[in-house]
Subunit: 436 residues, 2 copies
Amino acid sequence: MKEHIGIGVIGFGTVGVGTVRILQENRDLIHRRTGFYLDVVRIADIDLETDRGIDIDRSILTDDAKALIADPNVDIVVELIGGYEPAATFIKEALEQGKYVVTANKALLATRGWELFEAADKNGASIAFEASVGGGIPILRSVREGLCANRFESIHGILNGTANYILSQMSQTGMDFEDALKEAQQKGYAEADPTFDIEGIDAAHKIAILSTMAFGVRVPFDAIPIKGIKEITQLDVLHARELGLVIKLLAIGVWRGDELEIRVQPVMIPESHMLAKVNGVYNAIHVIGDFVGSTLYYGKGAGMNPTGSAVVSDIVSIARQIAKGSSYDVPPLGYPLRTFRETGIRDNSKVKGTFYLRMMTVDRPGVLSKISGILGEKGISLSSVIQKGEGEEPVAIVMVTHETSRRQIDEAIQVIDHLDVVMEPTLALHIETELK
Amino acid sequence: MKEHIGIGVIGFGTVGVGTVRILQENRDLIHRRTGFYLDVVRIADIDLETDRGIDIDRSILTDDAKALIADPNVDIVVELIGGYEPAATFIKEALEQGKYVVTANKALLATRGWELFEAADKNGASIAFEASVGGGIPILRSVREGLCANRFESIHGILNGTANYILSQMSQTGMDFEDALKEAQQKGYAEADPTFDIEGIDAAHKIAILSTMAFGVRVPFDAIPIKGIKEITQLDVLHARELGLVIKLLAIGVWRGDELEIRVQPVMIPESHMLAKVNGVYNAIHVIGDFVGSTLYYGKGAGMNPTGSAVVSDIVSIARQIAKGSSYDVPPLGYPLRTFRETGIRDNSKVKGTFYLRMMTVDRPGVLSKISGILGEKGISLSSVIQKGEGEEPVAIVMVTHETSRRQIDEAIQVIDHLDVVMEPTLALHIETELK
């Protein structure tokens, strides 16, 4: 058995430092568990100067990632640069040289993963990416291996800690969106440019990866309807509470027999559901399998240490195979590539459900009847209507519909938002009554 | 690659039927994922007559478990009889023949697991037991592989669905213990003899297995202090609520640097904690690792389908190795046996914390001062005292202590319970303020 496995880390930023620190601090523990040592033999970064606050042998630092990949002492290439290029090129090069790759690069995997999986397949290499979804939560391993006896029915995930922090603060402290975002930025939970987080794009990357794995179908990233949380106001948070509901940004994948319903959007869920209780920067993923039933996985979705924990778990799994001279036996996506098919992604307009509608209108008689008339024409029936606040404009009209389709809702809103009396774009949130 | 893996199932009861059903219904799905078929080639049970409501070829049924084990077509032996004997004999025989074993037998593993692990080790076989803890939740795999980068700090588990159902009902409906137990029995959540569930023994079996794996130390089952939930009353449930706490039967393993603190008992936890939100027959395990931080795993802890899901996940992992002619690379307990040591189990009397004390006394002046005098003598200081109800005896005196040791509490209670004025044994519950 090989007693030393060489690790090359490309990208010595936050996650890179976290990963190297774990490999240092828990080196003996991992040796005790596995019988081998994980040696960081090279680290590549374009910045070789900045002090990372970690004690390493400077001679292993290089700015030449390709040399790292080609180094015969590097058994496992760990890509932690992020972004599309040069990350994709480096990963492909490593796989073409038959090396194992570990990455946390969700954006790359979600949008261009297939070329990487094919490169791994072709070259008898493998690629592992536990850290790309749910940070430290071993969710991919759970879906791919722990629940492999099951046909998956649905996945509902809180997959972005920044967005969840903002929504939690709005719900718990009464803050509005802008203040909660500012606080998240001050605390380091949100970046200066928070677009990917608050617009739902990051969560969409993750549900794309997770759904590909769980349902065994190729998910074209561009087909995922994505909506962020910017439009959510205190009014919506309070109305949700009155209805016994909580607003969460969910990334959803549901298998509809022959099609995948996949979407990322703020939705309302019952306050008694476990997902409703996930607050702050935590992530959680609710997975239903045909035999296991409801399961949930919860933990920190980001940060150098949790993400590093996931990266190192992948390194250990691969190193176990290298140590005994075997090949990795679980396909990266749970299914062999040849068994995948392009699936119909369910047209979002066909998605059915009950909806929360919030309209901001002038305070004038007849507005309510005009709006409910339009809804009626589109075949939408209502289960409740709340009109609150008088005098100060705009006034809010809140409605909850009976089951209807997204298409009907969208068509109705288009007409409603053109009315003179409607002062702001109408908000429509799916109420996830189906969530078990 | 071997395309057909032979499965022999010993014990065709609830979990056996669940397992065979999954192997039938998801046979093609598993083949698509893995490239092989899992064939149930033999099923052994002493009862060959009862109709299990499942369509099987009756020629594979046998009452001869030893013949099943020796059958060259059986690659994996699945032991689902439960209990100590003859299960232990069958498992050892299979391992001695170099066969892989999958079992859900927590009682056996917790009390006599070591002889089985040694038999596996000696014969180059392996034993897998995901179904023994947390039913369908892939918790062992998460601890052993998903979190293998971490030094574990603590495990707090709701590991018995029956006890959790009873406590949840007591909290949500105001039922008392006896009625909640009766309801659980009527619904099939509790057995006619519910001792193992309500006395905490079943949960202790599971935390023994989980702690052995997480902390890499041998846990002598008899050293675990175990307390059940029979003494919990509505009074305690209501007082907990006033304090912002919830009563849960927790199985706890905490690493104290050089010793393992391990105990099973009803405790009070903050109502905001994720574990407090786990209701009904669900299980959940809260695991803290040094890098990953807090994580939680939630799902159904029992039942034929969830348990079968875990059994089949083990079968698939082992079958992957058999199919490619390799050996199983992850030791059953996460660490190789030779690295284990007998650990000091922390003396329960040294466990520190704040405690909830509930005394039932006669309604007479001076009782409170007598009791608080005794507590003072034992060095126990109080953070709050509630005395409620007048007239009808016994009256309850409820106290919350500052940090103290279990020893001090037990000594004080021994004196208090001998007072003439004290009418029932005093209840002391640990308040888990430390729980993150």
